[in-house]
């Protein structure tokens, strides 16, 4: 399905109940550079007082690090975020070797090193910023596929990335017509007469509630979803009026606190999501601090301002899979055109939960693994409770296949999908598509300082409702960064599918034979050639 066909399909299934004029957002890739005065790069270029502003560095650097506008007597401060580092510095054409006064030095940027952690290495953050800034995959000097966590997705590789398998996946194949490669996904496989919902990329945005992130973050996510014919999610906490122009690309969440859930909000959208649990705090429910329950938040949640709000775990009205079916039926009755997604966490019996959800009538099963999450959560829960998504995907995929229902349900996964390659690996392990959260925050400038909840909230103005902080970012910029990120991801997906000789992302689902797992111990020849 081409993009224009997909747009027509969207028009055809637009729910009559919404009736609100829907805004269109162009899928245009435009530069959206860092919103701070000094962009951070992997390397830092220092210019000493010995510089004579001769301009040789400007001529030498092909990456635009050095600039000297016409009429300027001095060379400007280096744009060191554009520098590719030692790879260039070792060549004769580098600014360092060309400088007649030895005034230039290149070194790793200590500030960039402060951003990293094992899951989200400094390189991953910088490469995500590059993708959000340019709309293109990151340059080779930034690692954009893997973190440094030493396990899970970081321990998996596609065979075409591994020496010894090149014959099976020739690079020449990547040159095949990539324009024909389809990354779209249908979400309704039940054949129950409800409308088909198609998304153009196998990725949509995770739930972030009104109150937990700034309004520009919410709207930016929604607008990028419109541009890419995908979805964003309201999270628990109501459906702000400003999201009405994007109804067709919003998922509204019915979570355990039922905050802000009304018939109207359910009837407005094409997908309704039941949230049983979330990966960052599985089995624990949510807690909105009294300070964050501002009058606007309280009005949306139909609660009293200033009171702490508990979102219990689990649904108080669900004690069994039969109760669960009752709830799914309730949603389907209220909105006869919507699809129902069920978001669950990853316990040891996640496979049984998935099967139960299918038989209860869910169109989409959304697994949220334990290492993800964007909001505040107890550290003990984030690290220790429930299994990482990498393990849950094959478990559920195989179980659904054995049950004979794999093709009747859409399996969407989230919780630690950081890169396009993570998404591809998740799909190869058995998912249909992925939901992302943290990567969108990083694209908007998050440095993962983990201060989302303290004081006035996010110091970068992404996850804060503070009037001053939330104005650090404009809506246009936020939208463009996310549109760009999706494009960069799609390009990488198309490239990888071309290497694998596939025409559609749907062909990749469950093809774990194109993956390999790294082993520390020596592996016998027989195992390698399996």
């Amino acid at each position: 399905m081409t993009t224009s066909e997909a747009v027509q399909a969207v028009e055809a299934v637009r729910p009559a109940t919404s009736g609100w004029p829907q805004e269109k957002v162009a899928r245009e890739i435009r530069p959206a550079p860092d919103r701070y005065r000094n962009a951070i790069g992997k390397y830092q270029v220092d210019r000493s007082a010995a510089c004579a502003s001769c301009g040789r560095c400007v001529e030498a650097c092909v990456y635009g690090v050095h600039t000297k506008p016409a009429g300027y007597a001095f060379t400007l401060r280096p744009l060191d975020h554009l520098c590719i580092g030692p790879e260039c510095a070792e060549t004769a054409a580098s600014c360092v070797s060309q400088c007649p006064r030895q005034a230039l030095t290149v070194r790793p940027n200590p500030s960039a090193e402060c951003m990293g952690d094992a899951r989200w290495s400094s390189d991953l953050i910088l490469s995500t910023w590059h993708q959000a800034s340019t709309g293109r995959p990151a340059p080779p000097h930034l690692e954009s596929r893997l973190g440094a966590s030493g396990g899970g997705f970081d321990n998996l590789r596609f065979k075409f990335e591994v020496a010894g398998f090149e014959d099976q996946f020739p690079i020449a194949a990547a040159g095949a017509a990539t324009a024909d490669i389809d990354t779209g996904l249908d979400l309704n496989h039940r054949g129950d007469g409800r409308p088909q919902v198609h998304i153009d990329i196998p990725v949509y945005g995770g739930g972030m509630s009104f109150g937990s992130v700034s309004i520009h973050t919410i709207l930016g996510k929604a607008r990028a979803a419109v541009a890419w014919n995908s979805f964003s999610c309201t999270g628990e906490g109501g459906y702000p009026d400003r999201l009405k122009p994007y109804d067709d690309h919003m998922i509204t969440q019915v979570a355990t606190g039922l905050f802000g859930v009304r018939e109207d909000t359910i009837q407005r959208v094409r997908i309704v999501e039941f949230k049983y649990a979330q990966g960052a705090k599985p089995g624990l429910g949510g807690h909105l601090l009294g300070d964050k329950n501002t009058p606007a938040v309280a009005r949306m949640r139909e609660a009293v301002a200033g009171n702490a709000l508990f979102s219990p775990f689990p649904f108080h009205s669900v004690y069994s899979v039969e109760d669960h079916k009752k709830h799914v039926d309730w949603i389907k009755e209220v909105n006869r055109n919507c699809l129902v997604s069920v978001k669950v966490s990853t316990p040891t019996d996640v496979d049984m939960v998935a099967v139960g959800s299918y038989y209860a009538g869910a169109h989409i099963i959304h697994l949220d693994g334990s290492y993800g999450g964007t909001g505040a959560a107890p550290d003990i829960a984030k690290k220790n409770i429930a299994m990482p998504i990498e393990y849950a995907i094959p478990k559920v995929h195989k179980f659904l296949s054995a049950e004979g229902i794999r093709d009747k349900v859409t399996l969407i996964v989230s919780g630690g999908i950081r890169t396009a390659y993570d998404a591809l690996k998740a799909i190869a392990l058995g998912a249909d598509g992925v939901v992302v959260g943290t990567v969108e925050m990083v694209a908007l400038g998050c440095v993962r300082c983990a201060c989302c909840e303290s004081g006035r909230g996010c110091p970068r103005g992404i996850a804060s409702t503070d009037p001053e902080l939330s104005m650090l970012m404009s809506l246009e910029w936020a939208t463009q960064r996310l549109i760009n990120l999706n494009n960069a991801w799609r390009e990488q997906m198309v490239d990888a599918l071309a290497r694998l000789g596939m025409k559609s992302i749907r062909e990749l689902r469950g093809r774990s034979d194109v993956l390999c797992c790294l082993a520390d111990e020596p592996v016998s020849a027989g195992e390698v050639s399996q």
């Binding site: 069994s320 316990p347 829960a381 299994m387 110091p459 390999c516």
Partner: protein, 482 residues
């Protein structure tokens, strides 16, 4: 419903300036002294608050221990002069097990008594050795502990220590023949143990005892330290006694509920002597966790001893002959537990495990691996500001003397006030208790007694890795391009 157990925490600010993770700010030349300086706009006001600590205002390095590394100043400075870097002093703390992040989170919990909470998802490695290769389960829909976390339903963390009769015997006319049980119930599955390597200051033992009373648990103390306990504290003291100590410890033994003796040839005689002084006294045998532990526990159980304290090393490893490092608690304790289950002895015996219990999650995971309760040692010193200095790890007399002293210990644990230390220990245990309830609540378990040996409600990395990735082609790491 029983009275709710509650740990009363009180904020106890640290006595010394904290070693921060980030924040050595260096300036490049050219500051224009603009009026819009990012130092004034720091969201956390770190520059102003910490100016008093800056040793030299002219230095190009400005240590900012409270910096969160949000990088707003670095990116906002009009001339791009600022850099923040990771603090090397922070990275230098602790060792490969007691990592700087563990020290920092322990300090924060001892400061406030609150659960560590942060945003932006998990940040650590995917898995690691020992406890880091276990995930606890959660219950998705059906569960008995609805709202346990938020206080509307009670989750019990109390455990029983002592012999439990598996069946009751009666005479033909209904009179019970089984002697009454001597179970000792404590309210958290933790006892406060002596740090493994430090020479024991009497005031630290006093702090542990005071904290144990407040926490309604037990504190291990040497015979010399136990003497100082007030009469009302004696039920919360667990003296560690040798044969020579008994003469001076009669008063303590009459009031104490439990005592500990080291394993050795005379352990049975010693236990019998203690019980002759106080027949209700529970006697635990303190022994190294080693491959021979299971055999020894079974042997001593036959001789009538029912409580065993298995001590791993500082890093949670078995203690082997010749100082070699053995298996982690996770593996060796499961072996001991499994052996006792197989022999039908498990419910008669109480297993206490210690060594390497550094975080609240270790407590839960050790219990899942088969312990009834844990003993915390090094973490209590860390709560007082200890950095687990590398130089002090050898157990030689010289390093023991220096450890904690004002001349060598940045936290000066030797001089810390007893009441202050006790409250910080209480705060740490309060935070651990809350975290244990989080884990139990997520699993849908109403009491920690039922967590013991519940390996079916845990996910072990070795098993799940095989299940999930076992059918994938495996290649050596060296075959992959860097």
């Amino acid at each position: 419903m029983p009275d709710r157990y509650h740990i009363h925490t009180v904020p106890m600010p640290p006595l010394f300036q904290r070693v921060g993770k980030f924040g050595n700010v260096d300036w490049r030349e050219d500051c224009s002294r603009c009026s819009n300086c990012v130092k004034l706009r720091c969201l956390y006001d770190v520059y102003r608050q910490e100016s008093a600590y800056n040793r030299d205002p002219m230095t190009p390095l400005e240590p900012l221990d409270g910096c969160k590394a949000c990088l707003s100043c670095v990116q906002g400075c009009t001339k791009g002069l600022l850099n923040v870097s990771v603090n090397p002093e922070f990275l230098d703390m602790g060792d490969d097990y007691w990592k700087p992040d563990i020290l920092l989170t322990t300090w924060n919990q001892a400061d406030t008594g609150r659960i560590p909470v942060s945003g932006a998802g998990y940040r650590g490695r995917f898995h690691g050795p020992g406890f880091d290769s276990i995930w606890t389960d959660m219950s998705e829909i059906v569960r008995p502990t609805r709202d346990g976390i938020h206080g509307r339903e009670y989750i019990s963390t109390s455990v029983d220590i002592g012999p439990k009769p598996l069946r009751l015997k009666f005479t033909a006319d209904g009179k019970m023949l089984t002697p009454p049980s001597r179970l000792l119930e404590i309210q958290i599955p933790v006892i406060l143990d002596m740090p493994a390597w430090q020479a024991q200051g009497a005031h630290l033992a006093g702090a542990r005892i005071a904290a144990a009373k407040q926490l309604k648990t037990l504190a291990v103390a040497g015979a010399g330290d136990a003497v100082q306990a007030l009469p009302k504290q004696l039920p919360f003291v667990m003296p560690l006694l040798a044969t020579d100590d008994i003469g001076n410890s009669r008063d303590i033994l009459e009031s104490a509920r439990m005592a500990e003796v080291r394993d050795g040839p005379d352990v049975l005689d010693l236990a019998a002597t203690l019980n002759s002084i106080n027949p209700r006294l529970l006697v635990a045998v303190r022994m190294p966790l080693s491959p021979a532990a299971a055999d020894r526990v079974v042997e001593l159980n036959r001789a009538g001893l029912k409580v065993f304290h298995l001590c791993a090393d500082l890093h949670g490893r078995e203690i082997l002959d010749g100082g070699k490092r053995g298996r982690h608690i996770k593996d060796s304790l499961r072996e001991v537990h499994g052996r006792l289950v197989k022999e039908g002895l498990r419910d008669e015996i109480t297993l206490i495990v210690s060594g390497g219990i550094a975080l609240a999650e270790h407590m839960a995971k050790a219990i899942i691996c088969g312990a009834d309760l844990v003993a915390v040692d090094t973490a209590l010193l860390v709560a007082l500001g200890c950095r687990v200095c590398r130089d002090a790890h050898p157990t030689g007399a010289e390093s023991q003397d220096k450890c904690g002293s004002a001349e060598s210990c940045p936290a000066e644990t030797d001089a810390v006030d007893r009441g202050y230390a006790a409250q910080r220990i209480v705060n740490l245990m309060g935070a651990w208790h809350s975290q244990l309830i989080e884990v139990l609540g997520a699993m849908g378990i109403r009491e920690v007694r039922r967590l013991r040996g519940e390996v079916g409600r845990a996910i072990f990395m070795e098993d799940i890795e095989k299940e999930a990735f076992g059918d994938l082609c495996r290649v050596p790491r060296s075959q992959v391009r860097a």
